[in-house]
């Protein structure tokens, strides 16, 4: 261990929906370059076997370990302790918002997955099938962001102020998937899915989703782009043009 910090890890616990959630604190010695997930996993391994949290790949390819860390959505497997607290500081880990809590840090994301399936989001694709190359600095051009990098972690939905007040809202990742598909080929079914009150028009442009996205998918930009495409096609259809989203 190169450096040792003492921190207070505060986990929001909840067992059964009939009991209210409560914080539980653990004084821990950590290496600041460890990931938040490592500290959470140690609580399970050495202190409390009843602690429930989702995790799988530990390197940001699966999206299972999205949580709120000191009030901000983070993929905990790639978030160093150094980046979110200080020596002697505290680290509060809560489940994602805007999803029903199953237990402790685990939330029920089934509704989200159903929507991603309906949006025909592509999870993994080979290079020769990809519509965008991998190599490209994510900061260069928003249009080069690959949706296939979306790992469906749910951070964007948790951060979204609209999803907080409107449970029926499809949410950023789903709309981003629709934008990605519709920008490649027109589908009346997908266009109708996006073009509804709880779809692309519910967004209030808070851009929180893009701020927390660990994969730089930039859902907020995609929602704005999708609106543009839908409007331009409505206007075009009014003048008898066929829908064309590929621009």
């Amino acid at each position: 261990m190169s450096e040792a910090w003492k921190i207070t890890l505060i986990l929001l616990r909840q067992k059964g929906t009939e009991h209210p959630p409560y914080p539980q604190s653990f004084e821990m010695q950590v290496d600041p370059d460890e990931m938040v997930l490592d500290a959470v996993e140690r609580v399970w391994a050495f202190h409390d076997r009843s602690l429930m949290f989702r995790h799988a790949c530990h390197h940001s390819t699966c999206g299972a370990c999205g949580m709120r860390v000191n009030g901000v959505e983070k993929l905990t497997c790639i978030t160093t302790i150094r980046s979110v607290t200080h020596d002697g500081g505290s680290l509060k880990v809560e489940p994602l918002r805007n999803f029903p809590v199953v237990s402790d840090l685990v939330v029920d994301m089934s509704r989200f997955y159903i929507h991603m399936e309906q949006a025909k989001a592509v999870p993994v694709e080979a290079v020769n099938e990809a519509n965008l190359p991998y190599e490209a600095d994510s900061t260069q051009e928003a249009g080069m962001q690959r949706l296939v990098d979306c790992i469906e972690c749910g951070c964007c939905i948790s951060a979204c102020p609209v999803a907080l007040t409107t449970p029926t809202y499809l949410g950023p990742a789903v709309l981003a998937a629709l934008q990605d598909n519709l920008s490649q080929r027109f589908s009346p079914e997908l266009a109708a899915f996006a073009d509804q009150a709880d779809g692309v028009w519910r967004c209030h442009s808070a851009y929180e989703c893009s701020a927390v996205c660990p994969s730089n998918v930039d859902p907020a930009w995609r929602i704005m782009d999708l609106r543009k495409r839908l409007i331009s096609n409505r206007v075009g259809q009014f003048f008898g043009k066929k829908p064309n989203y590929e621009k």
Partner: protein, 390 residues
Amino acid sequence: MSDTPHVIIIGAGFTGCALAHDLTLRGFAVTVVERGEIASGTSGRTHGLLHSGARYCVNDRESAIECIEENILLRKIAAQCIEFNGGLFVALNDEDLSYAPRFEQGAQSCGIPIEKISPTQARERIPHLTNRVLLAYTVPDGAFDPLRLALAFAATAKHQGARFLTYHEVKGLRMDGRARVTGVTVWDRANDKTLDIGADIVINATGAWAGQIAAFAKVDVPVTPTPGVMVAYDQRLTDHVINRLSLPGDGDIIIPQRRMAVIGTTSYEVENLDYIPVLEEQVQAMYASAVELLPAIERSHLRGAYMSARPLVGRASAAGDERDLPRTFKCFDHAATDGVEGLVTITGGKATTCRAMAETTADVVCAKLGITAECSTKEQILLSYRNFYV
């Protein structure tokens, strides 16, 4: 109990999920108990390499043949979670070059299609590849998304009737007085309740933890949990898997995954499997070997570092020899090996061979219960992994 035989599978990693798929297709009632989530142990923390088998074609031919056969099948049934871009084996020095004839011969005898290419061709494919490359071979390697591969098997099994009890930790095996396993006792972590579940057969598919579960029935499973470190860098730098042309060693594979390059791996033994710390010196060693193959790694940043324990069948003759243990899998019918009925252990193997591991285990289960049912997992395209949650 109904006439349908009931099988409990302990562990929802690749093997457990693939086995639930296989057994439900063969008409069994299946319950999977898992102390964490799907793929939250070794399976989730793999490097995600869909092996062509070339890595093992010289010193572990049995594994190599299993890998190439399953590589082709998985690309068909689980295309949704596989990025199949091929890979290269590259030689950087004379020692690597001297391995080339054995490699060619090994690949040919295992039926792995390889092609020799020049350093120029190799660098055309991977512009960031070191200019020290002397020779390269193409191989049918790929990358898979670990969680989604396990989920795809689990989703399909679930829709075929399998029941998944996640966050249910096995606390004991239920035995009758005649050395027969009749079920499991599990602790429901969400509700803090203990429950007993009965079964005709219990299958221990807990990989590196197989010895711990088998110990509940006082039987021994020769498995050596052998962790390795993997380090993910924040630039992809290659679209193809890169292997060092030599016998398997530390830090000699680079796998592109999403926007990352994942370097693996090491091989050693640990005591506590439930928490394996990431050792700084191993991370440094990975970095050093990765830079040899892809110098541009110097310009990227560490994104994640993680450990997981492979379950290797057998026991290393001496500390430090873990690398020499075979990568094949083994199914133990404890009635035959230890006189304990109703318990089967499947362990060893690799993610790439999980379907075959399931097939072999399901064959053993069928034989034990006198059931004739053919395996049909080679043909069945898996449902979308998202169906696990639907």
